[in-house]
């Protein structure tokens, strides 16, 4: 049983680029990760020597990688989605998927559907195998209430694949029925979006991460708190939990210690804890209880964490971020 109390760093691995997204091959220690040098890498993190191999490149930052069956799907600031066959080790498809910068790529747990989100404020659903576009989820506003272009930062599938949540810069959350593309819930976490009209006349923040509980009833939303000096990510990490069907906020959690933004959320397989990972100048892991009230464990991580890939039982946690990958274990 993955126990946050037993969390310990196994090793950290330096990398010349910033890793924005990571996917783990099931039952292995092989990962794929997408980076700021536009490349998608493959590596075995348990190998004695860390030798990532670059497989192919996008035209800009690779912000999302997802495994769906044998396909690795990546997306980046070039607006393209690339399908890479991990068996034949070839790029099999490239789609001009979005007119603006892609922020994430997510696969349903059954590996059948892929979701991509981008700053054109559209979430697109694709058939994972054929690459066929299935549906477009439109509803996030293109402009912020202050008249500037918005960003669509986060998405997450429910475990059963029936629902997809998306969230944006102005901290609006929508839950969609995957089969129909219908919007079934709307919520917001306005504290996570700071607009400063007086000192600096721009904004910072946004919801950066989402996760459904294993039973699908609660939606966790990750970002940062209200910021005074928006030149920095100076507020403490913030998570809110919602009963999404009732469109009601259950809990607001602010870290007392860790400063920065929560870029990734994931629940324990049994739902007993929630991990929020992220950072500002440094990185953190924050484990909170299911009720969202208590910090079970906080850990400073050696780099600002952008994404995490865990083993099925969550006993191995692989973090990817600013010039580093880090392997943690929580056994027993």
């Amino acid at each position: 049983m993955a126990n946050p109390d037993k969390l310990k760093l196994v090793k950290d691995l330096s990398h010349k680029a910033i890793a924005f997204s990571i996917a783990r091959v099931p039952n292995s220690n092989r990962v794929y990760f997408g980076c700021s040098d536009f490349k998608v890498y493959e590596a075995d993190v348990s190998a004695s020597k860390f030798e990532p191999k670059d497989l192919y490149a996008h035209g800009s930052y690779v912000t999302g990688v997802a495994l769906a069956g044998k396909a690795l799907i990546s997306g980046g600031y070039d607006g393209k989605l690339t399908w890479y066959d991990t068996d034949s080790k070839k790029v099999i498809r490239s789609e001009e998927a979005h007119s603006k910068w892609i922020r994430g790529v997510f696969a349903s747990r059954d590996g059948k559907i892929v979701a991509s989100i981008a700053d054109d404020m559209v979430c697109r659903l694709w058939d994972a195998e054929s690459g066929k576009p299935l549906r477009e989820l439109r509803g996030h506003a293109e402009k912020t209430p202050h008249g500037f272009g918005s960003m669509l930062y986060a998405a997450a599938f429910s475990a059963d694949g029936k629902y997809l949540a998306t969230a944006d810069k102005v901290a609006k959350i929508k839950v969609w029925e995957v089969a129909t593309g219908k919007s079934v819930a709307e919520m917001e976490a306005p504290i996570m979006y700071t607009w400063d009209p007086v000192q600096r006349l721009h904004s910072i923040g946004g919801i950066r991460s989402l996760a459904f509980t294993p039973d699908g009833k609660t939606l966790a939303v990750g970002g940062t708190g209200k910021i005074g000096n928006i030149d920095h990510l100076e507020a403490k990490a913030r998570i809110e939990l919602f009963d999404w069907a009732a469109q009601k906020r259950l809990v607001e959690y602010t870290s007392d210690k860790y400063q920065g933004i929560v870029n990734h959320l994931e629940y324990a397989p049994d739902g007993s804890w929630l991990l929020g990972a992220g950072g500002a100048n440094e990185g953190f892991f924050i484990f909170i209880d299911a009720a969202g009230k208590k910090t079970l464990r906080g850990e400073k991580v050696g780099m600002h964490v952008h994404d995490v890939a865990s083993s099925e039982n969550a006993e191995t946690v692989i973090a990817a971020g600013h010039n580093k990958l880090a392997i943690y274990e929580m056994k027993g």
Partner: protein
């Protein structure tokens, strides 16, 4: 030159005035301006004359330090390049950030200097340096760009202010106020900080025009008496300020943006930056020599890409609108639009995905009068150093003055001491002068 009715031609009035002034030196005020009549913009003869006249400057001050990588000097593919790509512009061989598509179409008007190395990376000192083109000495306070242009281009009997600055946001405002230095408060700017209309610019009810003017004359007379035998720069500044009240009051309409069509207002955008830039256009069209519009605050130590993704498209829209608007009005060839800041941002990206202060290889742009469009200077492949054509603050200012037709080696005098406009030994970048 326009229609100024003297306010009251009565002999009575003339005697009184002489009586007040006695042997005191002439106050230098022009004939009484009729506040209600002046509308320079509606006077075609005047507008035509402006077209022949001296140059005007609009400085878009990107306070806090906009990133040159996310604007004028993209480094696609470099480790320091960030996620935004470079796009081809209308100038063959020149690429700028994809965040500025409208400016890309208009690059045939713009000179970009990519090789600024100004060495000062702290907001306070660098703001002062980049507003003056040099550092202050212990005993000399140099006038900033606005004050110099006001002095060189302003008219003694002008009814409009010579130097206007908009700085509405609170961050950094104190570091870069307009400053006339040793030129004195005559050339100090009208500072608009809380809103776009100067406060107290309209006469209140309950006092006639005549009395309003004559009590001011009375004030001036008595103050001049007090000033005999007394020295103080503050004293001088107070009297200068009162001298200018009437003229400033008559320029109220210029600040009224509702006088522009919806079409024009939409072109600039309805945000604060767009509106203030549109007002700047109105001001320079009416003869104000120098307007600074500060767009604060670009200091993206964290989340640089998010901040620039938000703010650069606005700069793109506003600057493009300004260029189009000035061109339509036949004013682009008489106006210099400058984008400048206290410094740029580091090529290296910090863990908060931010860029920090950087003055070693950054960019500015000059559009309009006196410059040849294109690119001057180069930064190296990562943007960390100047590779070619290094320009410091003094050289930049020498170039700006030259483009405006002002001799950069001209001397001002502080007492008996000659003070050249730019640091001695500095030459403008002659290759870029039209």
């Amino acid at each position: 030159m326009g229609k100024h009715k003297t306010f009251c031609g009565s002999g009575d009035h003339a005697i009184s005035r002489r009586g007040f002034l006695g042997t005191a030196a002439a106050l230098g005020t022009a004939a009484f301006a009729d506040m209600t009549q002046l509308n320079l913009l509606s006077n075609p003869a005047l507008a035509g004359e402006l077209k022949k006249q001296q140059k005007r400057v609009i400085l878009l001050w990107l306070a806090g330090g906009a990133s040159q990588v996310e604007t004028w000097d993209p480094k696609p593919g470099a480790a320091t390049g960030g996620p935004f790509r470079a796009i081809q512009t209308a100038m063959p061989g020149v690429h700028i950030s994809e965040l500025m598509p409208r400016m890309a179409d208009r690059m045939k008007h713009t000179l970009v200097i990519r090789s600024l190395n100004t060495k000062n990376a702290d907001h306070g000192g660098a703001s002062k340096l980049m507003m003056r083109g040099r550092r202050d000495e212990a005993n000399v306070k140099f006038p900033d760009l606005g004050a110099v242009v006001a002095r060189e281009m302003g008219r003694a009997d002008s009814k409009v202010p010579d130097y206007v600055t908009f700085y509405t946001q609170t961050e950094g405002r104190g570091m870069a106020p307009g400053d006339a230095g040793f030129l004195g408060s005559r050339y100090a700017p009208m500072e608009l900080t809380t809103n776009n209309m100067p406060e107290n610019i309209r006469k209140v009810d309950g006092i006639s025009e005549l009395d309003h003017q004559q009590r001011a004359d009375l004030r001036d007379l008595l103050s001049k008496q007090f000033a005999q035998g007394r020295t103080s720069p503050t004293l001088g500044s107070q009297n200068e300020a009162y001298q200018r009240v009437r003229g400033l009051m008559s320029s109220e309409a210029l600040f009224d943006i509702t006088k522009e069509s919806d079409k024009v207002r939409d072109m600039y955008g309805r945000g604060q930056f767009g509106e203030q830039t549109l007002i700047a256009r109105r001001l320079i069209e009416a003869g104000v020599p120098f307007v600074r519009v500060a767009r604060a605050w670009w200091d993206s130590h964290g989340q640089n890409f998010e901040t620039h993704q938000e703010m650069v498209p606005e700069l793109d829209q506003v600057m493009a609108a300004l260029i189009d608007d000035l061109k339509d009005r036949g004013l682009l060839e008489h106006t210099l639009i400058i984008t400048l800041a206290e410094f740029g941002r580091t090529p290296s990206i910090n863990p908060s995905l931010g860029r920090d202060h950087f003055a070693s290889a950054w960019s500015c742009s000059l559009t309009g009068t006196g410059v040849k469009p294109g690119v001057y200077g180069k930064s190296d492949a990562t943007g960390n150093k100047v590779a070619e054509g290094e320009v410091d603050a003094a050289k930049l200012f020498a170039t700006i003055y030259s483009a405006l037709g002002i001799n950069p080696h001209k001397n001002y005098y502080l007492g008996a001491r000659p003070i050249p406009l730019v640091e001695p030994g500095t030459e403008p970048i002659t290759e870029v002068l039209a």
